[in-house]
Structure formats: C-alpha cells, structure tokens
Symmetry: C2
Subunit: 121 residues, 2 copies
C-alpha cells in the first residue's frame, strides 16, 4: 500500500493526473481506518495495473470513458461475465477498426511520398 507520490513515481503519471483520474472514477484509493492523525489515501498494486492500462489505452486513442468501461470489464465484480465479454469484444472490434484505418492512411501517405519523390520537380 503506497501513497500517491510513490504511485506517481512507479507509473510515471503525474500526481495531479492521478487525482484527476481518481475523481473521474477510474479507480479508488483507500483511507486507512486505523490512521487517525491524517487523511492520506493509500493505493495498492491493482491501481498500478489500472494506471498502466489507462496509459496504454489512452495512447491508442481511447477516451477516459471508454477506458472506464474497459477497467470495469476487467476488474469490476458487479458486472456479469456475459456483459464483460461483450465489452471486451466491442473494444477488440474498435481496435481492429482503428488498425484498418491506420493501414488505409498509411497507404495514402505512402502514395503522397511516391508522388513527391517522382513528380515534384
């Protein structure tokens, strides 16, 4: 169980961003009931996993709201197996679609490139 500073260092995500994500509902730290002198929040390794997932999913263009679905599909105990699988399948389709679009734009840029190389004098 780590404090926010250590969590930030482990994940490379700024403290303010972690706080923002937590407020957004992507995960939750815990208050230690036995600690009376302060109000500090503690985070376990599951939160590290969630932050890693957030970083990866963001890098491929998922919104925080889409990432929240993904996190719920993987970590939530309130969601049925069927629902989880449906969410995961939908995310996989989104990724397939993105890969297709990327390949298509890649082709277009490669075409631009060959045109610039061959006909731009």
């Amino acid at each position: 169980m780590k404090l926010i500073n250590q969590l930030s260092k482990e994940t490379g995500i700024p403290i303010a961003t972690i706080r923002f994500y937590e407020k957004t509902g992507l995960f939750a730290g815990k208050k230690k009931a036995d600690v009376k002198s302060n109000n500090y929040t503690y985070y376990d390794d599951e939160v590290v996993g969630k932050l890693d997932l957030i970083r990866d999913a963001k890098s491929i263009g998922f919104t925080l709201s889409e990432i929240k679905e993904l996190i719920d599909a993987w970590y939530s105990k309130q969601i049925s197996k069927e629902k989880k699988l449906a969410i995961l399948d939908s995310k996989l389709s989104q990724i397939e679609e993105k890969i297709k679009e990327l390949k298509s734009v890649k082709k277009q840029i490669a075409f631009f490139k060959s045109e610039v190389e061959n006909f731009d004098w």
Copy 2:
C-alpha cells in the same frame, strides 16, 4: 467552384466545422473578385481532397496541427522536396508506432477476455 453548403454536403463535414478548419489554416477558399454584390467564399476540389484527408487523419488520432503538417507536405509549394519527404516519413513512423501500440493493447484485451472466459466463476 462551390459554396460552403455544397462543400459540406460533399464531404459530410458540418459548415461550422469547415469554417473552423479554414480559420485554423488547414485550407483556404477564394473570394471571387468579379463578384461585387456579396462576400461569399468559393471552394475547389483541392479543398474537398484536404477535407477528406482531415477526416481520415483525425480518425486515426492525428491532431489538427499534425494534419496541417501533412497537408503542407502534400500540397504546399513553399516546402522543399526534402522537407516534404521528411514530414511524410515522420508521419509514416507515427502510424507504425500507433499500429504497434494497437496490437499490444489488443493482445492485452484478448488476455483479459480469456481470463474472464476461463476463471471468472
């Protein structure tokens, strides 16, 4: 040479968005000097091509500023061949990188899925 309404219909991009893109400097329509009674802007087919490129590039997560570079690399007459090729190569690398990230997240989600399928009872 078409007016903004027709351009919007041809590309499927809302008029307000086209205006926003034009203001952002992604392309420019032309005023007809011989038309004295109004101030209407006219757009040619090159603008249609640019709007198509904007739509495609946006869909794969390029920012408008990145898309502007791309448009310049393809359409600008002010930019040297070498510079254009460098920009296009850099965009191709970005796309390769995105494809890799997508495949990596895809694997991760497939793992989640198999775990949910097999161990979630």
